[in-house]
Symmetry: none
Subunit: 359 residues, 2 copies
């Protein structure tokens, strides 16, 4: 029951290409795939991501999943090789790719760029997984002259892969990812770089905060060098503003006993609170758009089920749920998020049934 | 079978005080606790973290778990109130606390500072959990004149709580945490602060990388203002070096086509790889000690309850649970963590009952 029809041809069997091939194949779509490395191509096919090309192929959609620095050239070549197909790509930068394609002789009206906001620190075909895109934003880069039907085709592809399509221009996309993806990568890498000269005794005190802030510093430098340099123009202003804020903090620390120093630090910390509150929940909607209740339950099997049973029986749908279950404590805490419209009904139900609500 | 003997008195029933009380109580240690807020004190006692003080108390160890800016004063008062007890604290900064205590009239030879490297973004008694310290480093701040027996007592406390004691001086500690904890906090807060002025459309593209790098930006500004200002001297040089590196990257982005610009970016990314490789692996963290299964459920009221009902009826206890509920997707993903010993029973149950396991 796929929205995508006809043969889809994937060029590049890395993490994204393989994941796209896997999902579409599972949906019954005819997927052919190629990779510049015959071994990688064979691996992805063995993995279930598609089949080899044949002379009888009638490709209706080409998805270019190659590194950013060869994306434009590969798209141009695909427009020429498959003269009846719509062509898209999945590169993390869109303006520079679009410019290069538009300045070519290819039939560029059949090209619509896109960018699924999904990835893992690990690349490669074997890291591919059919649920990679589920619930993730997928940018469809539309300009004024973008062909409406071509854009819809890519939107259907995104929906088939479980992603949430979002339309924006290449430039809007590049500015957005500079803020939410490329700046975090640079900052995380530079923070991790500080550890190189640390003492072993210092590093022995590492905790989860350090691990989380530096996790993406493990990303592939080759890939990211391409991304950062291709988006230098949008990225630089974000980092410059960060640098200005940082210099204020450094100055305040140097003069910690001077008037105003503490308020500089407080403002940095509070702005951090405000900023993180703006990050949408995993599902594309705001964290803050849910009402959250914390229920205390006895720490024994079946209690959580009893709680959720009562909520389900009342026809109330839970949007998110976290269980904070401290082994050895006499109670567990269940954090339940619901749409604000049913919050009061839920509170009434829980109180009527004798559940203890915390804080 | 605790190494700690005698009555332990916890002052301050926040996250750390409650967690210490919970674990020691579970080990059979007699724990009394007090908090400046009677309500918080009552909550922590209800939660199982200890009992109220009585006139018959014979306290052998006092653990001061109050905010950093009142730690020194509370330690001094505890040394006077409990003239036969060893006193420790758990504040995140050690030099300034030690100086304040040593300049008092109290019997300071009974004081040994300490710092468990454990925490959560959420504070408060209800966030307390007995496994908070398991596998975490716990710094025992020893100076030349530290009483050996007193230091051993705190080491036993750390071991009882499942932590790994590490001895270092207050100054060594403060320099280490500036690098691995305080600088990441500032950087994460400043990165999240950049999001305040972002467009909704920008934020809609947020992915896991942004969430991880900014997670600790949700931390309590009041607490962190105290920590950062108390450790300004050690923190400033780390941030200044970070700032120097960042300025090189900004300059390279501005002149992206000049010779040498790409190598500046490549060096930043590669140094990030090297830095993250220096972080020790997670030791005994609670995540790794659980087996995790992902179950796909239909996105409708009652399904989650039905699933958990079946698990509860089978007598299987869930240690942790996350619901990943993609709006618009037909299924939700439930991540269930259990003790490894019951994993196979759970898998069999779920397969027998027809649930779909993902991954």
């Amino acid at each position: 029951m796929s929205r995508t029809s006809g043969q889809v041809h994937v060029i590049g069997a890395g993490l994204l290409g393989t994941s796209i091939g896997l999902t579409l194949s599972n949906l019954g779509v005819d997927v052919s795939l190629e990779d510049i490395s015959p071994q990688v191509q064979k691996l992805a096919i063995d993995f279930g991501a598609g089949r080899s090309q044949t002379a009888e192929d009638k490709v209706s959609l080409v998805v270019v999943c190659v590194p950013p620095d060869v994306t434009a050239a590969t798209v141009i070549s695909a427009l020429n090789r498959f003269p009846k197909a719509i062509v898209t790509d999945v590169a993390s930068v869109k303006s520079s790719v679009l410019e290069a394609i538009q300045s070519s002789d290819a039939e560029t009206s059949r090209y619509v760029g896109s960018h699924p906001m999904a990835g893992r620190e690990k690349g490669g075909a074997l890291s591919g997984r059919p649920d990679l895109f589920v619930g993730r934003p997928w940018v469809i880069a539309v300009e004024k002259n973008t062909d409406a039907q071509a854009a819809e085709l890519i939107e259907k592809l995104a929906l088939d892969l479980g992603a949430s399509p979002i339309r924006m221009s290449a430039q809007e996309h590049d500015r957005a990812v500079a803020l939410v993806s490329h700046a975090p990568q640079v900052i995380s890498s530079l923070l991790a770089a500080r550890l190189v000269d640390g003492l072993d005794a210092d590093l022995a005190l590492s905790g989860q905060g350090l691990r989380d802030t530096t996790r993406i510093a493990a990303s592939d430098p080759k890939l990211w060098l391409q991304i950062l340099s291709a988006n230098a123009e949008s990225l630089e202003p974000v980092l410059t503003e960060f640098s200005n804020d940082l210099n204020k903090v450094i100055h305040a620390l140097k003069e910690i006993n001077s008037n105003g120093s503490l308020s500089v630090l407080a403002k940095a910390l509070e702005s951090g609170n405000q900023g993180i509150a703006r990050i949408p929940g995993k599902h594309g909607s705001r964290n803050t758009s849910y009402a959250t209740l914390v229920v205390m339950i006895d720490d024994k099997p079946g209690e959580l089920a009893r709680l959720l049973n009562e909520i389900g029986n009342a026809g109330l749908n839970i949007e998110d749920l976290k269980l904070d279950h401290a082994t050895g404590a006499q109670v567990g805490l269940v954090e339940i998020s619901v749409l604000p419209s049913i919050e009061s009904a839920l509170v009434e139900l829980l109180q009527t049934n004798g559940w203890k609500l915390a804080g």
